[in-house]
């Protein structure tokens, strides 16, 4: 039979709507599975923290006792205190120093700066185990002069080594965004360079400094491998302590309780931060908001 009209298929149109519908379903399933994969460990930690029994293979009864018990676990509390001590010292120093270093690097000519920014990437890209092992060897050589070097000092030095680069990477894009005339204007008005730096440049880049600080804190608080090689004298942070204890198979469920609390605080902290940003910025779109914390 002869066709009267050419169909749109004859013009090269192909109907993908069935295929597309299948893809839409497949897509949703995949997203759910991936999110589950990302969150399963967090969910399990939360369940384990609510279990009355210490036995990890059997959920006996819902109980909040391990939450109340956190403060009584002396070893855990010591590890938490050590973690916060090292991370707060490292974060404060890294944020302060990193900001000024970034300004210094930005003042260099482009060619020189690219070289130093490349070197700045080394601590970030270098594998933790290589950074940790090589720093450990250097400190070990220094032990000839300072026998008791391992402990808080080596840990803070190691943490500064890998947190400063993150602060610099966060501050640098903000410096590039600032109007170069800002500084000149301040100086034309008779402000000394360093005063202008503090009064004009720092406020202009403070979003970058803040996100750099958050990043430094995140990296420092969760670090395992570098700390593992550079600690000493029983100065364990949380990761090292957990790693040692799971070998002995008697981890207290209070650790899960602590971790769950931390996750909840982080979530709320981020949501509140986001909420405040929205209020402040009002009309600015979400792309800028995202950049503020991340870049």
């Amino acid at each position: 039979m002869e066709k009267e009209h050419a169909s749109i298929q004859d013009y090269g149109y192909r109907d993908f709507s069935t295929l597309n519908r299948i893809y839409q379903v497949f897509k949703k399933v995949l997203i759910v599975l991936i999110v589950l994969g990302l969150y399963i460990s967090i969910i399990v930690i939360a369940i384990q923290s609510l279990n009355e029994s210490r036995n990890l293979s059997d959920f006996t009864r819902l109980s909040f006792q391990w939450y109340g018990n956190i403060l009584q676990e002396e070893e855990l509390m010591q590890a938490i205190r050590n973690t916060f001590l090292v991370s707060s010292i490292a974060t404060v120093l890294a944020t302060f120093l990193g900001t000024f270093f970034a300004i210094g690097l930005y003042a260099l000519s482009k060619k020189v700066r690219v070289f130093w920014m490349l070197l700045n990437n080394v601590p970030i890209l270098n594998a933790d185990i290589v950074t940790g092992f090589s720093l450990m060897l250097m400190f070990r050589l220094l032990m000839v002069i300072f026998p008791n070097i391992f402990g808080l000092f080596t840990l803070v030095m190691a943490h500064l080594f890998f947190t400063i680069p993150y602060v610099i990477l966060s501050v640098m894009p903000k410096l590039k965004e600032t109007d170069p005339n800002l500084m000149d204007a301040a100086m034309d008005l008779g402000v000394r360079p360093y005063k202008a730096l503090v009064k004009v440049v720092i406020p202009a880049i403070k979003a970058g400094i803040f996100s750099g600080m958050l990043l430094a804190l995140t990296m420092s608080i969760d670090d395992f491998a570098i700390s593992y090689f550079n600690t000493g004298a029983g100065f364990d942070n949380l990761s090292i302590w957990i790693y040692a204890v799971i070998g002995r198979r008697n981890l207290t469920p209070s650790v899960y309780a602590f971790s769950t609390l931390l996750t909840i605080f982080t979530l709320f902290g981020l949501l509140i931060y986001q909420f405040l940003q929205r209020q402040k910025k009002g009309r600015k779109n979400e792309k800028n908001n995202f950049n503020d914390i991340r870049s």
Binding site: L30, V35, G37, Y39, S41, I42, V44, I45, N51, S57, D58, L97, F101, G104, L105, A107, L108, R113, W116, L118, N121, V122, P123, I124, L125, N126, A127, I129, V130, T131, F133, S134, L135, L137, L141, V144, M157, L169, S170, M172, P173, L175, M183, M187, A196, L197, V201, T218, D222, F224, F229, I246, V255, Y256, S259, T266, L267, N289, F290, I293
Partner: protein
């Protein structure tokens, strides 16, 4: 910026030079020395007699495991991570920041603890089974699947962030132009979007590949010591203070890393996609 501020970078140049080069130099020297558990610092002499360590079958197997797992992890993370990043970009949800926050939120809790809880629910009798009645993972404790699962879902967020950063920078006008010129959406994706986001894929791949290659905690916990990565051998050498052996293996890993950094700088000069 005022040229006067150049001075501010001087201390950092010293700091970086000292802490990047001296430890690596120390590591190189020690890898060529006889420094191990029975030799003290004062008896240090150059030696290469321990180099046969590199050809021992246990070392070779560890290298093979590390490279194999790192490659597969990177590939799976790329496929799944790109998919998620692209869906986030396409989503009609106004606040993309919140979506990204949910992707990276798990990274804020302790890595070792997360890995340990994964290992718990991968064993035969576990807490999820006692609640829902069946094993969602089957009994994969100690197998390569367990390790791969742990590695992929630990490091995938790095891939998602890098790819999303690259995707976000693509000008929508280019996509519109491609559609106007008659490309089908799939073709538009392959010919326009994917090439433009490739920089992010490279960065993301490196950020997944390197920690996987050099990691030791995740394989140790999830394989229950069955699958040995090169990092596990270095850890053993560290525990038994065989520093020359550990240093030698770390130098080999370093060579891989240098290769990756060179690759990255080809695509991304100032490391802008790193964050």
């Amino acid at each position: 910026m005022n040229k006067e501020f150049k001075v501010l970078s001087r201390p950092y140049m010293v700091w970086l030079s000292v802490l990047v080069f001296i430890p690596i130099l120390a590591m190189l020297v020690i890898s060529f020395s006889n420094l191990n558990s029975s030799v003290s610092m004062s008896e240090l002499v150059l030696s290469v007699s321990h180099f046969n360590l590199l050809w021992e079958s246990s070392t070779l197997i560890a290298f093979r495991n590390s490279i194999l797992f790192a490659t597969i992890t990177t590939f799976i993370s790329f496929v799944l991570g790109y998919f998620i990043a692209y869906e986030i970009k396409l989503s009609k949800f106004k606040n993309k920041f919140i979506l990204l926050t949910f992707v990276i939120l798990p990274m804020w809790s302790n890595l070792i603890l997360r890995t340990e809880s994964l290992a718990n629910i991968m064993s035969e009798n576990n807490i999820l089974k006692s609640i829902i009645g069946f094993n969602i993972f089957g009994n994969i404790s100690g197998t390569w699947i367990a390790v791969l699962f742990g590695l992929v879902f630990t490091y995938m967020p790095f891939m998602i962030l890098s790819v999303y950063t690259a995707l976000e920078k693509i000008d929508f006008a280019l996509e519109e132009a491609a559609l106007d010129l008659g490309l089908r959406p799939i073709k538009k994706f392959w010919k326009v979007v994917f090439p433009l986001s490739f920089k992010g894929v490279v960065t993301g791949s490196i950020m997944v590949f390197l920690p996987t290659l050099a990691g030791f905690a995740i394989p140790k916990i999830l394989s229950r010591g069955q699958i040995v990565f090169i990092g596990n051998i270095i850890e053993q050498k560290f525990i038994y203070t065989n520093y020359n052996h550990g240093a030698l293996l770390a130098v080999v890993i370093l060579i891989f890393i240098l290769g990756s950094i060179l690759l990255l700088t080809k695509f991304d000069k100032e490391g802008e996609t790193l964050l």
